[in-house]
Symmetry: C2
């Protein structure tokens, strides 16, 4: 059996670090490692460094057993294979990244943004296994999303579909610190948004809260989580409010693509039932009856440390299906 085993390389490029690994069909990662993204001034230098880092592992596995390379990167466009004007990377302008990788490694390469890669990863190895219609929402510093419909990632006509964090759920509401849009999901349901909500509630609070013991600048989503775990009413109210807004947004997403499952991923999900309960309640409440009690709402089953590599590697199996 071993000689027909196939592998995919998964590469997760972040603004600071890049992680990579070689992954088999079942999602087992071997040969994983990391290198700095930020220390390379050009994409060319980075590609050289990535090749140097991966080459021994590729030799060990045998290049003929490697199907291709999948990459998750900020502002990566699946259609063009380019990384386009990524604000958090040193490489400016439009970088034809997939081509550069493909030429250097002599392997086919597919590229997309991190949230899309996460969605393919969930469908291939995670909570969305065997499903053709899922939505993955990543709740971290920002709110990202990847949408799979009819077995295909939704890329849109330009490769930029799936920016659900920027959909407006409170028209005229909180102004987003970076986009300037008012009332977007990310302004509330991201870690940043949760910290803002906590500060707003504290400013108006009439009853005591453990959060008062923190200096204002130290109030972040971690502080809210710690206080909520200790039973602090205000911190728990922050999660209830956040969950309500997220739940209302999810209802809208369900009425768009009617997914079999919505999979939540990322740091904010550590709050568990404190956020999941209001999410579920307000999602169901805002659905047409035909959609009620049908959507599996669940947390990711992938280990957070591995998920980005797995997601990127899963692009390679999708590549296989395309040809």
């Amino acid at each position: 059996m071993n000689n027909i085993q196939q592998y995919a390389i998964g590469v997760d490029i972040g603004g600071t670090n890049t992680k990579y690994g070689i992954v088999n069909h079942r999602g087992v990662i071997s040969h994983n490692g990391r290198l700095s993204t930020a220390e390379y001034a050009t994409a060319e230098a980075f590609v050289e460094a990535l090749y140097a880092a991966l080459e021994p592992s590729i030799e060990e596995v045998g290049k003929q057993h490697i199907k291709g390379i999948g990459i998750g990167a900020p502002n990566a466009n699946y259609f063009t294979g380019s990384i386009e004007h990524a604000p958090n990377l040193n490489w400016k302008g439009i970088v034809p990244f997939a081509n550069m990788i493909s030429e250097k490694f002599g392997l086919p390469c597919s590229i997309t943004n991190d949230a899309n890669a996460a969605a393919v990863g969930e469908m291939t190895y995670g909570a969305g296994r065997g499903m053709n219609d899922i939505i993955v929402i990543t709740l971290g510093t920002g709110v990202g999303s990847g949408i799979v419909a009819g077995g295909h990632l939704i890329y849109g006509h330009d490769g930029f579909a799936g920016e659900l964090g920027h959909t407006i759920i409170r028209p005229g509401g909180r102004k987003h610190w970076s986009t300037g849009l008012c009332g977007s999901l990310e302004a509330y349901a991201s870690a940043t948004g949760i910290a803002i909500t906590a500060k707003e509630m504290l400013a108006e609070a009439k009853s005591p809260s453990l959060l008062h013991e923190y200096p204002l600048e130290a109030i972040d989503s971690k502080a809210v989580f710690e206080c909520a775990q200790k039973g602090d009413a205000l911190a728990k109210e922050v999660y209830r409010f956040t969950g309500q807004i997220l739940g209302e947004s999810l209802a809208n997403f369900v009425m768009f693509s009617s997914p079999e499952a919505i999979i939540l991923f990322g740091g904010v999900t550590k709050a568990g039932d404190m956020i999941m309960q209001p999410v579920r309640e307000h999602m169901e409440k805002n659905l047409l009856p035909v959609f009620r009690n049908k959507v599996l709402l669940t947390f990711s089953e992938l280990h957070e440390a591995d998920a980005a590599i797995l997601g990127a590697s899963a692009l390679v199996w999708a590549m296989k299906l395309k040809s």
Copy 2:
């Protein structure tokens, strides 16, 4: 050439009447006709009547030249081929309609709801020709939608995707007369919603309006249109408000599936620029920069009288692509 010409039968089933026609690849309808839907107590009787009505035309065209039958019907499920619990039809429960048609006519049959059929029609013969990613919004008594992504209609895991009229755009806002949901797009942007907005604005109006000359129960979207055309400020404000809400919703839809075009269809679009200008303004204003000035926002190019038949017939060409 004539002997390789192929045809599709398009059937549009409404609560009161059913329209049908035989359509060629270019969207030219021949042999069109209609029969009552409401007068048949059972689906079986209706299928018999439809067959009797269409048989002479099928003979004339030659059955061997007909590729199949496409049907747009309320509550029709593409996956199961059934019409399920349609409130406006006499046939109760779950009717295996596509099978019944297919057996009676000896032709393959595909079925979906009217808004999905409209989307396939626009992509095949209309303003969405040659595009793989479009959203069609039907603005009539209600607000319907059909979404095409990557060349495929989005059906969702259960066949019910694309209920964009029921997405919430004003949380806690106007209660929908039928669904009970608060603040859904349909509550504002449908003909029914426009009439409600007009009445609300009239009740609070401090300046004169031509609409005051109508008895309250006669104020409908037609009255608003007539007054707006005469330059009435309040009636024009009704369209501006409606357009704002629709535009905000469209921005959310764009950030979901990044379509090349959004095509508006139905009675409400008669208002032309009075509604289109605010729609466009508020859509662009609520988009991330990456999506701005890229989406073609346009009215349907199909004649309203033919559109439903064309859309249904287009399902047949899609059938061909699937096999």
